[in-house]
Amino acid sequence: MDLQNLNPSSLKSRFTARFLRALTEINAPKTISSSSPREIFQRYRRIKVAADKSMAYSVRSRRIWSRATLWRLRTRSRSRRLVSFGRRASVKTRTTASHGKENKEHHGAVLGVQAEELRELVPGGEAMDLCNLLDETAHYIKCLTTQVQVMRTIANLYSIE
């Protein structure tokens, strides 16, 4: 990855800066047992959430999938703070579901099962018509590959002694 020529306002830069900041916060509290398996798992969760969140924020809610991700993360953190009675906060945006269904039946039938599978993989996919789904998927993939690239580079840098 060519670090020197990064455009400061590029998606990659914005994501990297946010993610690094989050990593520093996650790593800040140094307790004696900072290497216990439970701590490592909690750190893993926080890192993964930070990565997804950083990318979604870096896209600046210009996309359905990024808005859905941010919404999902917000509802999840809110429900965790409340005493939960085992209720899973997996509420999906259904406001445009009925509209999406009309177009789904027309073109979705052609690509049937695969489109359904894709809807589950792309955040907010359930409510998208096929056109949006394909368009959002392309953008989502680009962002995911950037995310993976940066995470891998950071991990490699941390691996250097």
Partner: protein, 92 residues
Amino acid sequence: MSSRRSGSRQSGASRITDDQIADLVSKLQRLIPELRGRRSDKVNASKVLQETCNYIRNLHREVEGLSDRLSQLLASTDTDNEQAAILRSLLM
């Protein structure tokens, strides 16, 4: 980066053409390493979507694996705050 909006944003009068779908599908095909080299008329849309799902799942797994790796690394290094600062200064 083009932010092409499909005409299907309005309720009711959404005329998504097959051409639009075909364009979007071939755009996706170019992003999938598995299918990138093949000619678009030889790969049907169903296959593209199938491979897209597989590719996204792989990417999700990579994110999980890297998060795991990072959590181990953060636990073991002492100078990570310095390293993070160095990394950030390289990028600004």
